[in-house]
Structures are given as structure tokens and as C-alpha cells.
């Protein structure tokens, strides 16, 4: 093997740490996707664009002279209302319909979002400087930006907070009841319309947090939303709906895969590898499932 990564073991440590920290961030986005998929049965192609929008909100704060880390508090608040508005405007009309309708409708929303962000924030690649410095490990052979550690920490914090909220609060219980059986929940007096709107809002808020973290750890560009959608979709189908530890693990797995693919295949194939992995996972799943339905052969 003539790859640099196999010659230098320290690069492997570097890629692994990067991948795991990145994967935690992906898992946060995937958690939002699992939430709306489980509760409302829609697949949101605009998920990644909500993330990028959240990132641009944090970037705007940074341009105003406030430290971008405040974005993880301000961005989800704004994004919650964006999500709520989006639900009232479009999503409530596609909730009970065929899944393909929701895919196409959110695809349309994604295009609108991309273009509006392009108008407002410009087509340049931007990044908000957190100036957190870097941590050096193993005699300076592994560099770890503190912003990545910060982002992983914040992601875990928010994920735990959300799990507790879902378990304890009234709205959280209503959301879980609706996910189990929307009709029964409605009969028992749950305002499902409100639950749906809140779910979509919470999902958008999660995207906002993830976006704010991406604005300080990675880069922002109006058209890079779709890979985030695909990553979160992939994590959800591997982990299954409503299985939070599995979401975290498969998120980290995806992060690792990406970092290693980056070193082995080259950066130009990184996004291609992500999409190809999606296809491979789906095909694997198809063959695994087809074994279960042998009676129909």
C-alpha cells in the first residue's frame, strides 16, 4: 500500500480524532432528522440547507463583532421560528401525503433556501474565526483545533438536554405519543398540529446549533447543504428511528469513514465517497431485507 496514511501512524490518530469529533456533529443533525421522520413521517431534503442557514446566522453575529460561539444559543432560537414558519407554510400540507411528495416539496424548499442564501450572504466560502487555538498532542504530531472539541462538547450537551426534555416535559411526551400513534394521540386530546409544528421547529433548532458549530469548525457555502442531508439520512437508516446511542455511534462511524476516505482517495472524491456510501448502504439493506421475505420469491 502506497498511501501516506499507512506510512505515518500519527496521521491515523489524527484522522480518527477528527472523524470522531466531526461525527458527533453529524449525529446531532441526524437526531433532528430521525425526530421529524419518526413523528411526522417526512424526509426533509432541506435539512442540510437549514444547517447552513443556521451557520450563516452565527456568521452574521460574528460579523457584528460578537463571538461566534454565542451562535449556538442565538441561532437555534431564530431557526426554531424559521422551522415553525416553514411548517405552517408548506410542510403541514404534505404531512399525510405520499413520502415522495414530501421529498420533492422539501427539494423545492432547499433550492429556494440555497438561492436566497446566495443572494444575502454571497457565494464565497466563509468561516467564523473562534480564535480558540489548537491543542497539540503526541509531540506536536497531532493537531486538534479547540473549536472542534468545543463543538463536540456542545453537541453532546444539547443532545442530552433534548433527551431529558423529551422524557420529562409535557410537549416531549406529546411528541412521543404522536410518534407512536398519531390518531390515538389526537383522540386523547393531543393537539397533533401543534406537536408537528413544534417537532419541525425543534428539528430546525437542532440544525441551527449544528450550523453554528460548523461555522466555527468547518466552512460555509450556500450550496453545500445537500451532503449534510445525505449524511443525516444515512445515519438514520443505519441506526434506525428513535435509537439515540446508535445514532451517535453511526455518526462517529461516518465521520471516521470520511476522514479516512479523504486521506486514501483524495479530497476531490470526499463528497463522492459519501454519496456512494449511501448507495452501498441502501443496497446492502435491500439484500438483507430481501432475505427476510423469501416467501414471496
Amino acid at each position: 500500500m502506497d498511501f501516506l496514511i499507512f506510512k505515518a501512524p500519527m496521521l491515523m490518530v489524527q484522522a480518527s480524532l477528527d472523524g470522531i469529533l466531526l461525527g458527533i456533529l453529524f449525529a446531532l443533525i441526524a437526531y433532528g432528522m430521525a425526530l421529524q421522520w419518526g413523528v411526522m413521517n417526512i424526509i426533509n431534503i432541506a435539512q442540510g440547507d437549514l444547517v447552513i442557514l443556521g451557520g450563516y446566522i452565527a456568521y452574521t453575529i460574528y460579523l457584528w463583532g460578537i463571538h461566534p460561539a454565542w451562535g449556538v444559543i442565538i441561532s437555534p432560537i431564530i431557526m426554531f421560528f424559521v422551522g415553525w414558519g416553514l411548517y405552517k407554510l408548506v410542510i403541514n400540507k404534505v404531512v399525510d401525503r405520499d413520502l415522495f411528495i414530501s421529498i420533492l416539496a422539501t427539494f423545492g424548499i432547499a433550492i429556494v433556501f440555497q438561492q436566497l442564501m446566495n443572494f444575502i450572504f454571497g457565494a464565497d466560502v466563509v468561516v467564523a474565526q473562534s480564535e480558540y487555538g489548537t491543542t497539540m498532542l503526541f509531540d506536536n504530531s497531532v493537531t486538534l483545533p479547540n473549536s472542534k472539541i468545543f463543538s463536540a462538547f456542545i453537541s453532546v450537551l444539547y443532545a442530552i438536554a433534548l433527551v431529558i426534555y423529551m422524557r420529562k416535559s409535557k410537549l416531549g411526551r406529546a411528541i412521543r405519543a404522536t410518534a407512536q400513534n398519531a390518531r390515538a394521540a389526537k383522540i386523547l386530546g393531543v393537539d397533533t398540529e401543534k406537536v408537528y409544528a413544534a417537532t419541525f421547529g425543534i428539528n430546525a433548532a437542532l440544525c441551527g446549533i449544528a450550523g453554528a458549530l460548523i461555522s466555527i469548525t468547518l466552512t460555509l457555502h450556500p450550496y453545500v447543504g445537500l451532503p449534510y442531508t445525505v449524511r443525516s439520512f444515512m445515519i438514520v437508516i443505519v441506526a434506525g428511528l428513535g435509537n439515540l446511542p446508535a445514532v451517535a455511534v453511526s455518526g462517529m462511524g461516518l465521520g471516521l469513514f470520511e476522514e479516512f476516505a479523504d486521506y486514501i482517495l483524495g479530497t476531490e472524491f470526499r463528497i463522492g465517497a459519501v454519496f456512494l456510501l449511501l448507495v452501498l448502504i441502501l443496497v446492502y439493506r435491500r439484500f438483507k431485507l430481501s432475505k427476510k421475505r423469501e416467501y414471496l420469491k
Binding site: I43, F233, L282
Partner: protein
């Protein structure tokens, strides 16, 4: 009825043949229209008839584009040097070489995508519903990203297709050549799709759409028919891509060939706008869409993608049945549906 059909079709063919002379300035637009109709009709075979909503037909379109150009160059000159030199041409095709190249190239670009569709069909078409939709979306984008990293077909720099031979003095010749090529493709596709509409094959596809498990239980080998259906689409999509590559003259991996953001969405949108699962729906949808696009794109310059996104949302949310579906609801007699007045009244009373 038969005579009416004959008049309609011969009228359309005459109109199609006369169009480049009547609207001489719009030859490129007319070529686009033909290709768009072909793409919408072939998408309709999947999305409308078979119920497999694909975003992945763009894969075959892009493949066809790259294959035609590669064969056309590779038959006579070294391909790597051609793409490396970019716009500056050290090699020039003679007239005979150009037409031979494009002929063989189109043949390859029809067969190879169909073979690829057959090869990956067994794995991909086993997916159902939204998993299939997302998987094909991933396929199209992955193809674009990967093609953008391959050096021999130009990588991110793009691939300039051979220019139309300069020895032909007639300045109109290039436009006419591509128009008639795409028109021939359109006629061929239409005849083929019309043939499918009258055959047992269509009934099987519809059975798969309505209830795949039941169709399987009735003894239909659904997988076989799904793959054949997809191969038919791939065949025509590849040809359409090959023609488009020659017309545009420049292939970029994500903006021209595997252009999921434009072409990939257009074909879905056109078929839904006209009405899924009808013969004429995609034709009407594509024509309307093209007129709308060409008419309004220039007026709302810069905002066209916003308009496109809004259009998708509006069409999908409010008119999922499309134009033909709307007409069918309004004038059911025209579509050969007999309404029993007594029965209808009885139902109204029941409500």
C-alpha cells in the same frame, strides 16, 4: 377516431419538420425542447407508470454525454491529450470523421447506459418508495462528483466536445443537424412509448405501481420487468445526453452532465406538471415548462432558481395530479371513462 389520430400525428410531424425553417432563430431552443420532452417521457415510464420515483435518470443522461464525446474524440485522437489541451485545438476532425464519430458515439451512449441500468438494476430496484428516490439521488450526485475527479475526461476543468466541422460553409447547418437529430430521437421515443402504452408491458408496470407484492403473488416476475423498464429509459436518456453534449459543446461534470440541480429536477417536474402516467402529459408538461422557462427566465434574471423552487413546491403540493389529471377530473368522458349518472346521483345522496 383512427383518421383523427392520423391527421394529428402527421400534422405534428410536418410541424416538427418545418419548425427550424419557420422559427429559424430558435433552433437551439427547439432542440432543447425535443430533448426535454424525451427526458420527461422516459422519466414518466419510471415515475408515472412503474411508481418508482427516480432522481437517477440524470446518471444515464450524463453518461451518454461523456460517452458520445469520448468516443468521438477517442476514435481518431488520443483522448488524454485532447482534454489536457482544453480549448486550444491541436487536433481537428474532418467532416467525415466528425459524423462517423458522433454516429458511433451515439450508438455507444445508448447501449452502455442501458447495460449499466441492467447491471445495477437488480440491486437498486429492489429498494422501495422513498429509499429508491434517495438512493437514485445519491447515485446521480456521486456520479457527478466522481466524474469531476477523473483526469482523462477533463476532471473539474471540463471537456470540450469536437467543434462542428468548419468545412461546411452553411452557417445554419449545425443548428439544423442537431435539431433533426433530436427530433428523430423524439419521434423514435414517442413511437416506442406509444407502443408500450398499448402493450401488456404497461399493464404489468401499472400493477407494480399499484401493489407490487400482489403483482408478485399473481405470478409476475416483477424484478425482470422493472429492470427492462429502467433499461428502456436509460437507452433514450443516454441518446438525449449525447445529443445535448454535442449541442452545448462543453461538458462540465456537475453543471452540464450530471446536472441534478437542473435537468434532474426538470424531468421530474415536467412529468408531474403534465400529469404522471399519461402518454401526452409529459409532452404537454415539457412544452409548457420550456415556454415558461424561456419566457420568464430572462425577466427574473438572478431569481430563476427561487422561482424554480417555488414552482416545484406549488406544483407538488397543489397539483400532484398534473394538467392531464385535472382535465380528466373535469371531462372524464374525453378519457373514455363512462359515468353512470344514476350511480353518481346515488352516491351523492349517500354523502
Amino acid at each position: 377516431m383512427k383518421q383523427k389520430d392520423l391527421i394529428l400525428y402527421s400534422g405534428l410531424i410536418i410541424l416538427g419538420l418545418a419548425a427550424p425553417y419557420l422559427f429559424s432563430a430558435f433552433k437551439v431552443q427547439l432542440t432543447y425542447l425535443c430533448v426535454l420532452i424525451v427526458l420527461a417521457m422516459t422519466w414518466n415510464l419510471q415515475g408515472g407508470e412503474m411508481g418508482y420515483n427516480t432522481f437517477g435518470n440524470i446518471l444515464f443522461y450524463g453518461l451518454g454525454m461523456y460517452l458520445t464525446a469520448s468516443v468521438q474524440v477517442g476514435m481518431f485522437f488520443p483522448l488524454a491529450e485532447w482534454t489536457e489541451s482544453g480549448g486550444e485545438k491541436t487536433f481537428v476532425h474532418t467532416t467525415a470523421q466528425y459524423f462517423q464519430g458522433i454516429g458511433v458515439g451515439l450508438l455507444v451512449s445508448a447501449i452502455v447506459p442501458a447495460v449499466i441500468a441492467g447491471a445495477i438494476g437488480y440491486a437498486i430496484l429492489g429498494l422501495r418508495g422513498h429509499y429508491f428516490a434517495i438512493c437514485t439521488l445519491g447515485l446521480g450526485i456521486a456520479a457527478g462528483e466522481i466524474a469531476g475527479g477523473i483526469e482523462i475526461i477533463g476532471a473539474g476543468q471540463g471537456f470540450t466536445t469536437p467543434p462542428f466541422p468548419a468545412e461546411i460553409v452553411d452557417t445554419e447547418a449545425r443548428g439544423k443537424f442537431f435539431y433533426f437529430l433530436s427530433f428523430a430521437l423524439l419521434v423514435g421515443t414517442f413511437i416506442f412509448v406509444k407502443y408500450i402504452y398499448g402493450s401488456r408491458f404497461r399493464l404489468i408496470l401499472n400493477a407494480i405501481r399499484d401493489n407490487e407484492d400482489k403483482a408478485e403473488a399473481m405470478g409476475i416476475q416483477t424484478m425482470k420487468y422493472k429492470i427492462v423498464g429502467w433499461m428502456c429509459s436509460a437507452f433514450f436518456c443516454g441518446l438525449a445526453g449525447g445529443i445535448m453534449g454535442g449541442l452545448i459543446g462543453y461538458i462540465d461534470s456537475t453543471d452540464v452532465a450530471f446536472d441534478g440541480r437542473e435537468m434532474g429536477v426538470f424531468m421530474v417536474l415536467m412529468a408531474i406538471l403534465g400529469g404522471k402516467g399519461t402518454l401526452w402529459g409529459p409532452v404537454i408538461g415539457a412544452t409548457l415548462f420550456h415556454f415558461f422557462k424561456e419566457g420568464l427566465w430572462t425577466l427574473i434574471l438572478g431569481w430563476q432558481y427561487v422561482a424554480l423552487g417555488v414552482l416545484i413546491v406549488v406544483i407538488v403540493v397543489y397539483f400532484p395530479e398534473g394538467l392531464m389529471g385535472w382535465l380528466r377530473e373535469k371531462y372524464p368522458e374525453r378519457f373514455g371513462e363512462v359515468i353512470d349518472e344514476k350511480d353518481r346521483k346515488a352516491q351523492v345522496e349517500l354523502k
